[in-house]
Symmetry: C3
Subunit: 255 residues, 3 copies
């Protein structure tokens, strides 16, 4: 597919504006996430200025999702009840128009998880966040799901694409790969931006830049992966819309 | 209801004495808590000087509760198995005379969770810890449960009341709202004090003052919500009975 | 049983060599662990240089285990689904020759958990990691399970024994008892060493020395149990094979 021209500065301005509105309104993001990442995801949303909720009980997840500003679905450590909860939450999100993000963690390791992910992709998340191995497992096969949303691929640089427009975000630090749940947190932060910015490309861009900036700054002060996590939360809390616009490392590139 | 006179200094003395006994005996508190808060709750109890256990398996939760010094029940992220475990644990606590605390997290967001909470309130926890929104959801309705225990309402200042006596605790810091599980931890610390001090008002008061003091001191040294959490655990570990008596900000007020 | 002579320096050399290979290959360790420890276990493996996976879903745990370099099974907070997952994972480990560690947390507190642990011990873990109370609950009874693997008993000093050879590791710090999941982490780190070193005594020794050293150094810089946890992860990340050989405090002793 040919490149589509894209106004990077305009998107960053919109992302910075979204950050202001997010902090003014403290929207709730419902997260169905894995047990290793739950604490970081909740604290990351709070540090950013949003409010997390995390229930995966099938009797209440519909009400929690319907009242949330966005839904973040993560397939790490799924048990049978959480998989049921995910189906209920996604159905509620579709009925209520709640935007949602899908993070199909480690689908390249288990066929049953890959099938669950493919079905969810067909349900139409606004943003699909994954790494290259997970993308390949989903889409480089004969029965790849169809997907029309924003594809956000995390890596040494993040790639965020939609309808032929592709942005590359070079913010971040290798230390981010030494802390569990960092990708899960990026999915949840993308959800937080979706609560105030319905353009998925802008929301994914803002989340990726902001988390990358927090990582860069935390790496500058932390002496290892242990101190890096609290430092990153401190930076998420402090980063301003001006920081986001000034220090973003974003380029356009071919799809 | 009219004010009932209350000896604040006497209660603080009793709370300080309880802290000494708690550290001398390292009592175990069984916690049925949510997955985002489990780590903080466990580490907070250890920092204070107590021992956490957290199983919610229905076949063993009765034995774990029966042998514990107190039980702390938290309704965050309840799945079907944890809800069954809560019923079994509460039944065991009643049979064995183990004091218990109820923390009905976010019952204002889902009707099924509100009904579960109302039923548990009728089971008679020693202390009911919640915020004002949760209190209103429970009690400002036609079919409010009856409750004769200690009502501990968390907020900018905590309000702790029993039989018309109400104490207001002004210790704490706004940063405490930026870390997930802080209320859950308060419930668990209240449980820890109940193991050595059967007067629920004194136990809830001591837990509220101590956590508030830890928050105040942590906020003085931390640069954001990430560093705040480990700093708060450090302070919980260091605070002395003298600190509790000297720096408590407690007043009596009308019910 | 009589003492069996053991070459401590040779074992430490082998452990140091294993650390090098571990960091060069970043092996995956599948962990079935409790919800309070999951985050520390995952971050500890990442800090060391390994990769964690944690699913306990019965449909996928077999595939995750079969593809892992080692399996770490922890009986803390077991729910019915995780207990099923443990059986499936252990069966997959046996078929595929994946070495595994068992950590029977708090089996001295509930008879059902003790029975589950005894059955798992009969399944033949390479290393059984526990404390003295848990060891006594398992083995000091008429129907003690038979066990031919490495017995690693944590305490003020760790004792690691196999077929009459017993090593005592004096590295560590009392602060390690004030952070939840430290024993669970030791089990997972032992699993990480087993991925590159099939001799269970050497793997358990290397894990025990390394975590003890990380604890000693973290205690030197942290002001309490809150700051201790991130400091310990920082040290796990930094410790070198030379540190392991030079600063290990290991002696042989009677069985």
């Amino acid at each position: 597919m040919a490149d589509r021209p894209i106004d990077v500065k305009g998107r960053l301005d919109a992302g910075a504006d979204a950050l202001d509105r997010l902090r003014a309104t403290a929207p709730r993001v419902h997260c169905l996430t894995n047990m290793a990442a739950a604490n970081l995801v909740a604290n990351g949303l709070l540090a950013l200025g949003a409010v997390p909720s995390l229930t995966d009980h099938d009797e209440e997840v519909g009400a929690f999702t319907a009242g949330a500003g966005a839904l973040s679905v993560n397939l790490g450590t799924p048990d049978a009840e959480r998989l049921r909860a995910i189906d209920i939450a996604v159905a509620a999100a579709k009925v209520q128009g709640v935007p949602w993000v899908l993070d199909p963690v480690m689908i390249d390791r288990a066929p049953t998880r890959l099938r669950a992910a493919a079905k969810l992709v067909n349900d139409g998340p606004a943003v699909l966040r994954l790494n290259e191995g997970e993308r390949a497992a989903l889409f480089d096969s004969a029965d790849a799901p169809s997907f029309d949303g924003v594809l956000a691929i995390s890596g040494a640089a993040d790639s965020i694409g939609h309808h032929g427009a592709v942005l590359r975000v070079a913010n971040g630090d290798p230390m981010m790969t030494r802390v569990t749940g960092m990708g899960c947190l990026l999915g949840a932060l993308t959800g937080a931006f979706l609560t105030v910015e319905r353009d998925g490309l802008t929301a994914a861009l803002a989340a990726s830049v902001l988390l990358g900036l927090a990582g860069e700054r935390a790496a500058g002060s932390a002496r290892g992966p242990g101190g890096f996590q609290p430092a990153l939360l401190d930076r998420l809390h402090d980063l301003t819309p001006d920081d986001l616009m000034r220090d973003a490392k974003v380029t356009t590139c071919a799809d």
